[in-house]
């Protein structure tokens, strides 16, 4: 048994070279890759922790802001409710005022219209009553009534001033006696009493006007002496109208 020391040294050198080469091409690159990944992982973890811390901070701020938003929303809601209530009250009051004004105007309008209607009704009623009265009085037109109207006409002539009565009596155109119906047999009597009342012999013409209803009227070109129920109803109508 012999040991070849040259061979031993050569193998030792070979293994040393192998250790050096593998250290360069295997152990260091692989260990560096592992270390680099660990470093990168630590950086990523650190970055993730920092990001998580930022996210936590942002979350806390967002939570705080959300709470503030809720409070602000509640305050705005309360303010809006108060404003809405105020606006509603104001609008309600304004509407009430307007409604009251409209109601007052409507009441005035109704009152006016009612008054106008009442006046119109009164006018229609008075007109109708006068028509009824005229119809009724028309039935009463007879010799007695005619005689009464003759007496009233004579009295009216007597009550006239003397100058007027004298002017009538001396009127060359004569006078006209108007009756509602033909005087017939009473015509002479009527003419005589009138001439007597006038104190002259003026010409007297007799005419008929059914609108008089009943009565005797003296008419001249410049003078008319009303004496009929038609004129009386006319006066009544005027009085009623004036009263309304």
């Amino acid at each position: 048994m012999t040991i070849d020391f040259w061979g031993l040294g050569l193998q030792a050198v070979n293994v040393l070279i192998l250790i050096w080469l593998l250290s360069r091409v295997f152990w260091r690159p692989v260990a560096a890759a592992i270390a680099k990944r660990q470093e990168t992982a630590e950086e990523v973890i650190g970055s993730a922790k920092a990001t998580q811390a930022k996210a936590d901070t942002a979350l806390a701020e967002a939570t705080k802001a959300r709470a503030g938003i809720a409070e602000e929303r509640a305050a705005m809601r309360d303010a809006a409710r108060i404003e809405a209530e105020s606006a509603a009250k104001s609008t309600l009051a304004e509407a009430r005022t307007k409604a009251e004004a409209i109601l007052a105007t409507a009441k005035d309008t109704i009152n006016h219209e009612a008054a106008a209607a009442r006046k119109a009704n009164d006018a229609q009623a008075s007109e109708l009553s006068l028509k009824i009265a005229a119809r009724l009085l028309e039935r009463l037109n007879g010799p007695t009534v005619q005689s009464a109207f003759l007496s009233q006409l004579v009295d009216a002539i007597a009550d006239m001033p003397a100058a007027d009565r004298k002017a009538l009596a001396s009127d060359p155109k004569g006078i006209e006696i108007v009756s509602a119906t033909d005087t017939g047999a009473e015509q002479g009597k009527v003419e005589k009493e009138i001439q007597t009342a006038l104190g002259g012999t003026t010409e007297i013409r007799f005419t008929t006007d059914p609108d008089l209803i009943a009565g005797l009227e003296l008419r001249s070109p410049h003078f008319t002496l009303h004496n009929s129920w038609a004129e009386d109803l006319k006066q009544v109508r005027k009085a009623v109208k004036d009263a309304a």
């Binding site: 012999t2 031993l8 193998q11 293994v15 592992i34």
Partner: protein
Amino acid sequence: MNSPLDSIALFYLGPLPITQAVLTTWAIMAILVIGSYLLTQRMDLVPGKRQAALELIVTTMDTQIVETSGANPSPYRAFIGTLFMFILVANWSSLIPGVEPPTAGLETDAALAVLVFLSVIWFGVRGDGIGGYLKSFAAPNPIMIPLNILQSLTRVFSMFVRLFGNVMSGVFVIGIVASLAGLLVPIPLMALDLLTGLVQAYIFAVLAMVFITSTVEDGQRSERDAAPATPPNQKDT
């Protein structure tokens, strides 16, 4: 069959006898270096299967170093790891017909043992200084100095003999059985030789690490024992 204790030179480079063990060692070196170079060309941040396998080798080696020594693995990784890989590949090279593993020769195992012996000195001086390294022989007390010196030689010699004996015996037994019983009978023995080769590589690497760690720790312990007691406040500071 030649004697396993003899190494026959195939040719000479000057005074250097080039044996088959040397040629096989160069082939193993070429395979390991070129293979490592090719495999470590593209190291990405996100590893693929290839890179994951490479990182698994390195991580496993680091784990073994840490579990054995408790120290930072980076100073020892290249030496211990290369020893393991070379011995493993050398042991398993016996599976290739016609190839005799370099570790079945005296010179290769002796060279590995010498390297371990020198590495113990190197790492001891590097870790503790020359004084610290020399003081490691006085652990636990100066009486042990002769025994420690003797131990530093014998433990390396035992590594050399263990590796040589196991690998050489395996190769020798397989050769004898193959010459007697034909082609298929040695296969179980070759499978057993695979396991033996792995175990021997592991044992050699672990023992080398243990010896280095022991020396470094003994030197540090000796320095701590020699140093004056540090005041508590200064120590805290």
